[in-house]
Amino acid sequence: MPTFAFDVAHMFAGALVLVSFTMLYQNRLPPLINTLALHSLLLALSVAWQAHIQDHPDLYVTAAIALGFKSVFIPMALHRMVVRMALHREIEVTVGTGLTMLLGIGLVALSMDLMLRVTAGAGALVREDVALALSVVLLGLLIMATRRNAVSQVIGFMSIENGLILAGTGARGMPLVVEISVAFSILVAFIVIGIFLFRIRERFDTVDLQALDRFRGERP
């Protein structure tokens, strides 16, 4: 059974990296939001599996949060926001898709090499999990860095968060994972509610760099 347990955990973690890659080439908002929902769904499955094989029932709470809050509620809220606030559906990118994908491959190779080398002492399950989790985190950073639009930055941030939860559940018996996932959810909820309340639509629509410079308050 241990090998089967390992294979399934590995499959979910690998699938998360794959979905992170598909986020890199989405150039419209609604499909990107759906990809996030899929990403969170995979995380929920992965965490539930870890809860099962590690015999840590409290991780089911984290899985439930990933499923209910991050793969259903937040994507719905974001879809609603796109419609209500009439945001541009196109995502402005700062780096071309091809180059972004190449950078992504480089980051995954980097994290594999780094993590597999330094975690030589830990068990195979932990090593693979942490290495794949770091890939998800770095790909999320890449999404945040190459997108100008605020909704896609939130999505990039949530994929980073998914990677961190993956790493936290992969690390055997790490305490506070549930609390940390709750803290993250509160953070994301605040931001999404904040966007609704403050109606900072202009911030989301504009990619006009001159406007941003003016906002920075560095008037001569």
Partner: protein, 482 residues
């Protein structure tokens, strides 16, 4: 039934937490400002009690020589800032920049931030510490965006984005530290308790600790405001309410630095890890020199002093990176002097910006003529932060330079260069701000000068004389830091 024994740590945390909850429901802003002052005073009294009554460390909380210094400083600046805030917000309400509803929110967030910082400082669990720093950051993000102008929302957004990236990297580092510990200490809460980690530090996996420290340095370093992760800092300081700028510079940067120091102690206690000093020295010097040159081109008075904060955090990280008893001692002293001086400067700048209704340096002139008291306190503060004797900042910078000169003259030259460049920029700006023909509106200032005098007085005394007990305490902490 006997009451449980008085626990200062619990009292410290509960005071801010209860105050935050109550303040969320107080409608009249005069009452909420007073309540905020009372709560901050209570926190200060409890913090002072921690000086000689400390509970033993458990799985979640710790009070030792290192963090008590930070807690007392935190509580003191928190209290003076609440006094300043009470005299500051009335004006914001009159000019319509804030509404009573927002003020209620502001006061609740102020205490939430104090709670988050105290929780981070007293946490013995590295996961809890991370959650606490996130809470403190989140509440400051809310306060930075409170004016709801384009600039304020932009600043809050930038702070959120960079802050979350930092927090994500720091969490990854925290998980790696846990992984390094789990083989030795065993699964569960024990492997996240800082005291356990330090006790077992020598046998933890060194390569995992190395990687973990790099993530933690980049993650918490973002919050410290180290170059090149500093981009959020000037915006957040300039666009938020001035009391928030004062606590950001004076306290929140220190709390992130404190987290970094705790991890540095673990990594340094393991003989097989890479030395972390050079990493901190590089980032510290880069921040110092970059910020010193950036000071020349600032057009906004709060941005000017925000860059000065980056510069000083660079010096402090540099000093802790050099390490050794003298380096750590000087770093600790510099941190305290910087907190006190910089928040005093922000208190004066807040009133200056209110009477002149602008933050543009070009529009503010001749303050010593139009508002003598305010102008001269600003002059004193800027001279102190620029490192002139007899103020305390001079003493700590002098200690840093002399101790480094003996060990690495080249690094000391770089540090001295940064200090001189910053000195020139600050004096240049000060001469146009404080002297010459007054320009712009000159309404009388309604300010409470007590916080400014208290801070500058302490910095002045600290530059001339330090009590022996305090010196012994700091030497002890410097020894702990290695």
């Amino acid at each position: 039934m006997t009451l449980p024994a008085f626990n200062p740590i619990a009292a410290l945390l509960l005071t801010s937490l209860i105050a935050a909850a109550v303040l969320a429901f107080v409608r009249d802003y005069r009452w909420s400002a007073r309540l905020n002052v009372v709560a901050s005073l209570a926190v200060l009294l409890v913090a002072l009690r921690l000086l000689n009554d400390r509970p033993a460390a458990d799985d979640f909380f710790i009070a030792d020589d290192l963090n008590v210094v930070f807690i007392v400083l935190n509580a003191f600046v928190g209290f003076t800032t609440s006094l300043f805030s009470a005299s500051y917000i009335g004006h914001e309400l009159e000019t319509g920049r804030l509404t009573p509803g927002y003020l209620r929110f502001y006061h609740a967030m102020f205490q939430t931030m104090m709670f988050g910082m105290d929780l981070a400082l007293t946490a013995n669990n590295i996961g809890l510490m991370w959650v606490a720093i996130e809470l403190a950051t989140l509440s400051t993000i809310m306060m930075v965006g409170i004016y709801r102008t384009h600039e304020a929302l932009e600043a809050a957004w930038k702070y959120f984005i960079l802050g979350s990236v930092g927090i994500a990297l720091a969490l990854f580092g925290t998980i790696l530290v846990y992984l390094a510990a789990v083989t030795d200490i065993g699964e569960g809460m024990n492997a996240m308790a800082w005291t356990n980690l330090l006790r077992h530090a020598a046998t933890l996996d060194p390569s995992l600790l190395n990687i973990a420290f790099v993530f933690l340095l980049l993650g918490y370093g973002t919050k410290v405001g180290l170059v090149p992760m500093h981009a959020w800092l000037p915006d957040a300081h300039a666009e938020g309410p001035t009391p928030v700028s004062a606590v950001l510079s004076g306290l929140l940067l220190n709390v992130a630095l404190y987290a970094l120091l705790r991890f540095k102690m673990i990594v340094a206690a393991n003989p097989a890890t890479i030395p972390v000093g050079p990493l901190m020295i590089t980032l510290g010097l880069a921040s110092l020199i970059f910020a010193a040159f950036m000071l020349y081109r600032r057009g906004d008075i709060k941005r000017l002093f925000a860059y000065s904060s980056i510069e000083h955090m660079g010096i402090i990280v540099f000093a802790f990176g050099m390490g050794g008893p003298l380096g750590n001692f000087a770093g600790l002293l510099q941190m305290i002097m910087h907190s006190l001086t910089k928040s005093a400067i922000f208190f004066s700048v807040g009133h200056v910006a209110q009477v002149k209704s602008t933050q543009r340096i070009a529009d503010i002139r001749g303050l010593t003529t139009s508002h003598p008291l305010l102008g001269w306190t600003l002059v004193a503060g800027v001279l102190a932060i620029a490192g002139l004797p007899p103020f305390g900042v001079f003493m700590s910078e002098f200690l840093i330079l002399t101790s480094v000169f003996a060990r690495a003259p080249a690094l000391a030259m770089l540090c001295a260069l940064g200090l001189l460049v910053a000195f020139g920029a600050l004096l240049l700006r000060l001469s146009s701000l404080a002297f010459g023909e007054p320009a712009g509106p000159t309404p009388p200032v309604r300010a409470s000068f007590l916080p400014i005098f208290a801070h500058l007085g302490l910095v002045f005394i600290g530059g001339l004389y330090m009590p022996g007990a305090m010196v012994a305490w700091f030497q002890n902490v410097a020894g702990l830091l290695k």
